[in-house]
Symmetry: C2
Subunit: 459 residues, 2 copies
């Protein structure tokens, strides 16, 4: 007699063709959540998932309304004594423009050279789909799941999850669980299995410097008044040194110190600095010299001007002192840092710069909390072990430079440990034309998830 996992894997092998056709049907629904003309398609995508959930035996299945696209919820809670997991993924996809760059129509999925090509194949409908079938394989072969699962499949991730936090707050009670598994990340460059163990946060600023009531002639007034553009430059320049270190008092106080183990983990990541620089069109990389580029991206905060404007920006010369000057900038936050304290510290440093004769205002446009889970957390170690069983190599631990709004929301609202377990390959063209997913990653991902549920139940 076979073990449960052998039966599950045999079922998956037998249903390979059926699963692929089912996956294609899901991919054919153009769930571009951000476009009004696809609101109906997006709702249809949600219903498609809900129907799947009902047929496979999940309970409390609901297409749950939000201020925008709905969240699909479904659970199975009969594994008494076993842990409960919230699974998060999303069914909305990025727009497809520029359409002319697609080799195949984005919503007519095709399998070629070991990949399935379609918008959403990787981000994130493929990962939604493999979760559904991993659970279905257990339910069909064993009549049960190894643990309790609550599925939360969102429809606005590509827009920054604007309604998700409100939904989470309202549904906090039915989301009681021990762990959140987020499946919206992927493997490391070269398609090496990986677990994302941290995300940076963000505090987004706008700086407005206002001087004279109107633009002044630079001849008639130059030397008599503070120029708002010069003042803005002076302020922003005072916040960083020439090596990229941020000089705001206290800025790094809560930033993590990189231990030997973490630095060794970073050093283990394959990274060709020259090729990376060439790939983005710069002659060399730049940043705090005592850290490697990957350490800086993963574990160091930043202060990057995202935009600025003042005065005359047309062709030729116009000799004015601009009446006002503006900049938008973002501080990415290392794990442990607090967007509010960061805002206050940077604001205070700005307001402490002596620029007589102009008015300085500092506004906050956005914030996102950072996230980190220890690679030593049992749920992370178990995920790593399952990845190794299926893909044959120890996964890398990725310290990601960006943010995922929903992860910060889960962290802040539910306060649960979170594992970011995803299976896409960095060359999948997520967000770009010609998105695809490597079928081996899809199949391996399905089996990894099926094993992970059992392994978590046995932990």
């Amino acid at each position: 007699m076979s073990t449960p996992i052998e039966a599950v894997e045999a079922y998956l092998a037998e249903t390979a063709a059926e699963r692929l056709e089912d996956f294609k049907a899901f991919l054919r629904i153009p769930t571009i959540g951000s476009l009004a003309e696809h609101t109906g398609d997006t709702a249809r995508g949600a219903e498609w998932i809900a129907g799947h959930m009902r047929r496979m035996g999940l309970e409390h299945v609901e297409v749950s309304p939000t201020g925008g696209n709905p969240v699909v919820y479904g659970d199975w809670l009969h594994a008494e004594g076993a842990p409960t997991v919230v699974v998060y993924a999303h069914y909305d996809v990025q727009p497809v423009d520029p359409l002319e760059l697609w080799v195949r129509p984005p919503f007519e999925p095709r399998v070629e050279a070991g990949r399935i090509h379609a918008r959403g194949a990787a981000d994130d409908k493929g990962q939604v789909h493999l979760h559904l079938w991993a659970a279905k394989a257990w339910l069909e072969t064993q009549g049960r799941l190894p643990l309790n699962i609550r599925y939360v499949i969102e429809g606005e991730e590509e827009e920054g999850s604007p309604n998700f936090r409100t939904w989470l707050d309202a549904n906090r009670e039915r989301l009681s669980a021990d762990l959140v598994v987020v499946t919206d990340t992927g493997f490391y460059e070269g398609n090496h299995p990986a677990l994302t163990v941290s995300l940076r946060g963000n505090t987004y600023f706008q700086l407005d410097v206002t001087g004279p009531a109107q633009d002044l002639h630079s001849g008639g007034f130059g030397g008599m008044v503070q120029n708002p553009a010069n003042a803005l430059i002076r302020i922003l320049a005072s916040l960083r040194d020439g090596e990229g270190r941020i000089t705001v008092p206290g800025f790094y106080d809560e930033a993590p110190r990189l231990g030997e183990a973490e630095r060794a983990e970073f050093a283990r990541l394959p990274f060709d600095e020259a090729a990376f620089a060439a790939g983005i069109g710069v002659t060399e990389l730049f940043g705090e010299p005592q850290y490697t580029p990957l350490e800086r991206k993963g574990m160091r905060p930043t202060l990057d001007v995202c935009g600025m404007w003042a005065g005359f920006t047309g062709e030729g010369s116009k000799t004015i002192i601009p009446a006002h000057a503006h900049a938008k900038f973002s501080c990415r936050l290392a794990p442990g840092m607090d967007p509010n304290r960061t805002f206050e510290r940077v604001r205070d440093a700005i307001l402490a710069v002596d620029v007589p004769g102009v008015e300085v205002e500092v506004g906050r446009l956005d914030e996102m909390w950072p996230f980190v889970v220890s690679p030593e957390h049992p749920a992370a170690r178990t995920a790593a072990a399952c990845l190794k069983e299926v893909f044959g190599e120890d996964p890398y631990f990725i310290y990601e430079g960006g943010s995922i709004g929903a992860v910060a929301d889960f962290d802040r609202v539910l306060g649960l440990p979170i594992v970011l377990l995803g299976f896409t390959n960095p060359d999948d063209n997520a967000h770009s034309p010609n998105e695809s997913l490597v079928l081996d990653n899809y199949e391996g991902g399905t089996r990894t998830v099926a094993r992970y549920w059992q392994a978590l139940a046995q932990d």
Copy 2:
């Protein structure tokens, strides 16, 4: 029997009504030189002046073509042994928008409360007109001028005299003279008579900083690459200190040292700093603390950002590292400074800033030489004496912050002493809606010019 100047002044008194009607006829021609739909009007204005010149007995009168609007030339060269003066003024005027702010139609001149109201009344058609009648008074009453005069009345001053230098070069031979009198300036605040004795020059820069091939995600790349906007800020901030002093090596080497006499002259100028600041909408003035605001404006160079732009400038937040960043800035030059050396010094200082991973380019968009004449120059002293005779008070000497392209051109091409003798009041709204000219200034200006020709001949 009356003296020549008594006869001239009697003639001016008798013709007051006729002169005013003639002035109005000139003002009715909408010589907006920069607007294509007024090209015909502008040409008509030139012909109007040429007709006047011919009727009053000037010779070699010519509407002389340029690449743009014509220059009106006319001379009278029969004062053997007397000096020769080139008189410069301009007949083109500023556009009139916003038209809805004008209390009276801009090209329907009206006299009210001691002023004549119309576009160009002050800048510069009133000053053209008073020159014509000052000479006419001499010719009508004495049959001669006290000295030789070549009139050069330009039609593109409000556009920065783009074709004037070429015209000057081509007409260098027929402009042989001893002195240039430029009539395009005015009196000091409070309508005190004044002579402008210096103009600042200008070197206009564009700074372009280029980084990655396209905008990068500030999460995925922040901390790994040099941000072109941050780099541009660092570069520009390095050029000035917090008190407005320019830190470019050698920048001030040719800037004049203010002697006791000059500082005393500046100190004599009435200047209410608080009222001036309030008038332009700032809480306080700003600049190198060891100089007064008027000294800084008149005799100190500047480095003012006129415009800058980079990355995202819309509503809300977009988390990018911009691919490139740009600034335009102007260095006003004190008398004695060289636009070319200034360009080289600032460029070298910019290129010396260490900003690895971006490309930095420095371009020059414009340049203008500074100008200065000593208040002790005989032609200036004589002008001052005539102003005092007519207006009853010693004129102030004004060190102007701006530039007049034609003055720099005269200085460079002809190498002659230049006197800037003008009669407008600072509150005349030149360049703004509701331009006007104080009639007492117009009448006094006419008599001052008439006396000046005689005084120069007797020097």
